[in-house]
């Protein structure tokens, strides 16, 4: 029996991907267009990129984002790795319950976390700053690193730790010499994931950022509301490029780890 070629699925996929990619492609292309508005191509230029770099707000927002997401990633990896190691090594009453409890921050909508932390900072008289954004980001990033590292540990044979003890390692020495080296790939890939989530967040940061502590996402949000601008096209192109690179690296790392 010969199958007749059915063009339906292919057409559907093509249409879906076209709708998905055309707006992004338009944005990228017009970031290099000389004309400020409209869709007619008037020549290649990099002036929007240069203008963007001369924009102090944009540059500062970028720096802020790097600081916030950098610190968030570092702390989330450490705290998540520690908790994952503890979870992997020890059994105790209520472990399953604690596990699902620690997972909840990822399913609560980001905005709710934002408003509740906002009012919580207020009652505790904590002034809004970069630090308050970092706290908020860590809260929803730790579960990500924790779960990724824990699942990589679950494939880790417990007798390997016993072997280290047997050969003269202390309990902490075993964690340091044997467990940690084996979860480094998971730490890196979960860290990249945490960085992405932190870098892209706007719904939480919106509520908990101090006046001068706009992150890049917040800056973009502010700019978007005022309409289409070529510098914004340029900025978007840069961000998209770096995020996609980061994403590809993460995926590649996860794939390598699975092997």
């Amino acid at each position: 029996m010969r199958k007749r070629f059915n063009p339906g699925p292919a057409l559907f996929i093509a249409a879906a991907l076209a709708i998905l990619y055309i707006p992004i492609a338009v944005m990228v292309i017009f970031s290099f267009n000389r004309q400020e508005a409209g869709v007619s191509w008037t020549g290649f230029t990099l002036k929007w990129y240069l203008e963007l770099l001369a924009h102090p707000d944009a540059v500062r927002a970028f720096t802020n984002s790097m600081v916030v997401s950098g610190v968030t990633t570092g702390v989330s990896i450490l705290m998540g790795a520690f908790a994952a190691i503890g979870f992997h090594r020890y059994d105790f009453k209520g472990k399953a319950l604690l596990d699902s409890f620690l997972y909840v921050p990822t399913i609560v909508p980001a905005m709710l976390l934002g408003v509740s932390l906002f009012s919580f900072y207020d009652i505790c008289k904590i002034p809004l700053s970069k630090g308050t954004i970092i706290i908020a980001h860590i809260t929803f990033c730790v579960p990500i690193t924790f779960n990724t590292i824990l699942s990589s540990l679950s494939g880790f044979d417990a007798s390997i730790e016993e072997a280290a003890r047997d050969l003269g390692c202390s309990e902490l020495g075993t964690i340091w010499r044997v467990v940690l080296p084996n979860i480094v790939p998971a730490m890196v890939s979960s860290g990249l994931l945490a960085f992405t989530f932190s870098f892209e967040d706007v719904m939480t940061s919106f509520f908990v950022a101090g006046p001068g502590d706009q992150t890049l996402s917040m800056y973009i949000f502010g700019q978007i509301k005022t309409g289409v601008k070529p510098t914004l096209n340029a900025l978007s192109t840069l961000v998209i490029l770096s995020m996609v690179t980061l994403g590809i690296v993460t995926q590649a790392l996860q794939k390598r780890e699975k092997k």
Binding site: P23, V115, F120
Partner: protein, 287 residues
């Protein structure tokens, strides 16, 4: 035995050192704030926007006012429409991907995931770009002479919903793809063998088995779309207001935190109900 207890004590201290920080963090910066906002929803507010710590149900009474109920109703309706459209796009996409060859499969999934790795805000901005008065769509339509004046696409409910569908489709594709891929190919062959037509095969075998995937996808799309105030802000231009905007306004411009808290609690309650319903359904459908 003495050394046995010292054994245990050391174990406990290492356990505390590892699990302690994250647990403490979650309690301090997640449980406390959530608990505080729930209690805030039962507090009053003075004329200057300050909080009056006295028990009241006023906020919940205000909530029942038609104006807020309308916004809530509209939000639930819009999220529902968005979820339906996302499902209509994501299901065939995931189904085609799940049945394709290994290479095509990876390409299709990467194809939908790569934009997902870029900031949602930027994708919203990209939509603004092509839907604006002098954007690609209008230029195209004007050029073909199909319309005399630029269509008002941006700053409408349609634009908001389109933006939500656009940004959230990948969220639905992933669980559906994972679910559909797990369906054993021999089941389909068995169905054919027993005389099912392709349509009957879909209705009687594939679709029932994919319900858990649909349900997870629905949750992943429906709840965030109620809150995505930034999409409504950017693509609705302040004209399309969803519940997320109202909450956000209470905490920023209107300075009525207790009322904002009550709204948040309401939506949080709705979301929790949805998740519980999902868990119940998934448990029941646990093949």
């Amino acid at each position: 035995m003495k050394n046995q207890s010292s054994f245990k004590k050391r174990r406990l201290s290492v356990m505390g050192m590892t699990i302690g920080p994250m647990t403490a963090w979650t309690v301090l910066f997640f449980v406390f704030p959530l608990a505080y906002i729930v209690s805030l929803s039962f507090c009053g507010r003075d004329a200057y926007g300050g909080i009056v710590y006295a028990f009241t149900l006023k906020n919940y009474q205000t909530l029942a006012k038609p104006v807020y109920m309308q916004v809530l109703g509209k939000t639930l309706r819009m999220s529902l429409i968005v979820t339906c459209f996302v499902t209509l796009i994501a299901y065939p996409y995931a189904a085609i991907a799940a049945r394709a060859g290994k290479r095509v499969q990876n390409a299709l999934i990467a194809g939908i995931m790569v934009p997902f790795w870029t900031n949602a805000l930027l994708r919203i901005y990209a939509i603004m770009n092509i839907t604006s008065a002098n954007g690609l769509i209008n230029t195209f339509l004007l050029g073909l002479g199909l319309v005399k004046e630029p269509l008002q696409i941006l700053y409408t409910d349609f634009a908001v919903m389109f933006g939500m569908v656009y940004t959230m489709t990948p969220l639905m594709v992933m669980p559906l793809y994972a679910n559909l891929q797990k369906i054993d190919g021999s089941l389909l062959e068995a169905g054919r063998d027993l005389g099912a037509s392709p349509a009957a095969l879909f209705l009687k075998v594939i679709f029932p088995l994919s319900i858990p995937g649909i349900v997870s996808g629905v949750i992943l799309v429906y709840i965030p779309s109620m809150f995505s105030f930034y999409i409504a802000d950017a693509l609705g231009g302040g004209k399309s207001i969803i519940i997320g905007n109202v909450i956000s306004n209470q905490f920023s411009t209107s300075k009525n935190w207790p009322f904002g808290a009550a709204l948040a609690v309401l939506v949080m309650g709705l979301s929790t109900l949805l998740i519980l319903a999902k868990n119940l359904l998934t448990k029941k459908l646990d093949y």
